[in-house]
């Protein structure tokens, strides 16, 4: 059983917007979301730019009707997943077999690290019930429960490609006839744990990041959540609203080189992109826009760039890294960028790669620097490459 899978709903919350339309407006106005830390408190407060969602946990809890002690990761997830489900506009949600596939890398770490700090000073301190949702899987269950999804639930944790993997896993569940609808995506909240960790790897830029720039110095961490409502062909036909696009291709490969660095010639990236094209039956020149993984690190951008050069030359489509707006949202990034990609297909948009002043000398192409509308977009390729060599590419096409 193999059939088409359609994108019927989108949900998104990030540093550049609390919902899909706010995000889109920021992209058009070229308003990036990185700045000083406000929500998280850390010793790096004034030294490292981050891309935070401009809402406190209290505000997120109020919006979602959740109790205040719930992990920020879960709150962000619920906001975006609810928006996506509402956006799909199902008339009779209970008549449909629904699943929730969500990814995250930090789980309830924000609560655990607060607990840990209190516990270290006094081991009767800290409220144990705050860390009950530490595991990645708990976050998914909490949100699925609130969405009323009981048929199927899964949690994926594969670093920065996690939510891209959720998306194609959700698509497979539909194609195999197991489910009619899957809300698929991911979430991650900023935590001291991640900030300190990335800082020790020395891959953070102390200024707003410059993906694919010759003088790039690293990434900026971000947070957020993104979800797609994927539906079967039959369900798509019954919906009142037009779908955004199809998920026409996907592929995952392992780079098999190093735990955190990409191979210099981008083997994993190359295999993922090539595989996604094969799956969708497309040739490289059919792609109209690539949403780059483009973290802004020395390593990723040259590896990804080299793989693109090898696969696409001499026909390079327009491309950009939206991490120049949202920062690197880690477990959420695949889905955040999938939302941008779906919107690109639906509305004919190309997003700018901000702060690119000096192109990389090794590459024969330069990412797009302006926001463009009314473009002829039939196919968009979105890349997500994670630590552990986990490389994924998704292709969205006009329905």
């Amino acid at each position: 059983m193999s059939a088409s899978v359609y994108v019927a709903g989108l949900g998104l919350i990030s540093a550049i917007g609390k919902n899909v339309s706010e995000n889109l407006a920021s992209l058009e106005q070229e308003q990036a979301g990185m700045g000083e830390m406000h929500v998280l408190s850390s010793v790096h407060q004034k030294k490292l730019p981050v891309a935070e969602v401009a809402m406190s946990n209290e505000e997120l809890a109020a919006q979602t009707g959740m109790p205040v002690g719930i992990s920020r990761t879960a709150l962000l997830s619920l906001v975006a997943a609810e928006e996506a489900l509402k956006d799909a506009g199902l008339e009779d949600p209970d008549s449909v077999r629904k699943g929730f596939v969500s990814a995250n890398t930090v789980g309830g770490m924000d609560k655990s690290e607060s607990f840990f700090a209190e516990w270290l000073t006094n081991n009767r301190g800290g409220r144990l019930k705050n860390i009950v949702h530490h595991e990645c899987g708990s976050i998914t269950e909490l949100v699925a429960d609130r969405l009323g999804i009981r048929d199927y639930m899964a949690t994926i944790s594969t670093a920065c490609s996690s939510s891209a993997n959720s998306i194609f896993f959700g698509a497979r569940l539909i194609r195999q006839g197991i489910l009619d609808l899957v809300i698929a995506g991911g979430t991650d909240a900023l935590t001291r744990f991640t900030l300190n960790g990335f800082n020790t790897l020395m891959i953070l830029d102390r200024e707003p990041c410059k993906p694919f720039d010759e003088e790039r110095k690293g990434l900026n961490l971000g947070e957020g959540a993104g979800y797609l409502v994927l539906v079967s062909e039959r369900l798509a036909a019954s919906l009142k609203k037009d779908v955004y696009c199809m998920l026409s291709g996907y592929c995952n490969a392992n780079d098999a080189y190093h735990q955190t660095a990409s191979s210099p010639d981008g083997t994993g990236s190359y295999l993922a992109m090539k595989g996604a094209l094969e799956k969708s039956g497309l040739k490289p020149e059919d792609v109209n826009y690539i949403n780059l993984h483009g973290t802004g690190t020395q390593n990723n951008d040259i590896a990804e760039g080299t793989a693109i050069k090898l696969l696409f030359q001499p026909h390079f489509p327009k491309m950009s890294s939206t991490k120049s707006f949202t920062g690197h949202t880690l477990g959420a990034s695949g889905a955040v960028e999938a939302v941008f990609s779906a919107l690109s297909v639906r509305h004919g948009l190309i997003y700018p790669n901000l702060r690119l002043t000096k192109p990389m000398h090794e590459l024969p192409f330069v990412p797009e620097k302006r926001f463009l509308k009314n473009q002829l977009i039939r196919h968009v390729l979105s890349n997500s490459f994670g630590f552990g060599g986990n490389c994924s590419s998704l292709i969205f096409s006009k329905a």
Binding site: S157, G197, F387, G388
Partner: protein
């Protein structure tokens, strides 16, 4: 686990840098593959790894977090993601095929059966290492399966179906 490493006379110095979860997964895969010389017949893109556990990278998360107050350890931070164990297995064996990591409360034979059979039946992979690898001190467990499209040794093989997956998992715990 270092005793096991020495017992199997493996020469792979990078082993010592791995965290507990990766050491466990690595050792389990070494044992699994030591009986499978046919692994060399597969091209790198034809072999994949699909693993799962309940505790993600929590064991290492805790160890890393304990270093944050003094000087955070980059070598530990690298392992604060559960899928790095997959990375280690792929680096060791040059596997480039699809890989996935799922987190669930208990081993989910239905998920693994569906996911891996789909990959193999649709020729996305020709073979796959899959199963459960979990570590949270002091407890750990690893149950790995090697699944292939073609049968090469019928006497020693079982069909990769729900019943056999559960049977093997149960036997491993007896």
């Amino acid at each position: 686990m270092e005793e096991l490493y020495r017992h199997f006379a493996i020469t792979y110095p990078k082993f010592y840098k791995m965290d507990n979860l990766s050491k466990l997964g690595f050792l389990a895969s070494e044992v699994l593959l030591s009986d499978l010389p046919q692994i060399k017949n597969y091209r790198p893109e034809e072999v994949g790894v699909v693993l799962s556990n309940a505790n993600s990278s929590l064991d290492t998360d805790i160890r890393f977090y304990q270093t944050v107050d003094q000087l955070a350890s980059p070598a530990l931070f690298v392992y604060t993601l559960p899928n790095i164990v997959i990375g280690e297995i792929c680096i060791r064996n040059h596997f480039n095929g699809e890989n996935a990591f799922f987190v669930s409360e208990k081993f989910d034979p239905v998920l693994i059966e569906q996911y891996v059979n789909n990959l193999i039946n649709n020729n996305i992979l020709q073979s796959c290492i899959c199963g459960w690898v979990d570590y949270l001190a002091p407890r750990y467990e690893a149950v790995l399966y090697f699944v292939t499209k073609e049968s090469s040794n019928p006497e020693q093989e079982l069909v990769f179906n729900l019943e056999n997956i559960k049977k093997i998992y149960k036997e491993a715990h007896e």
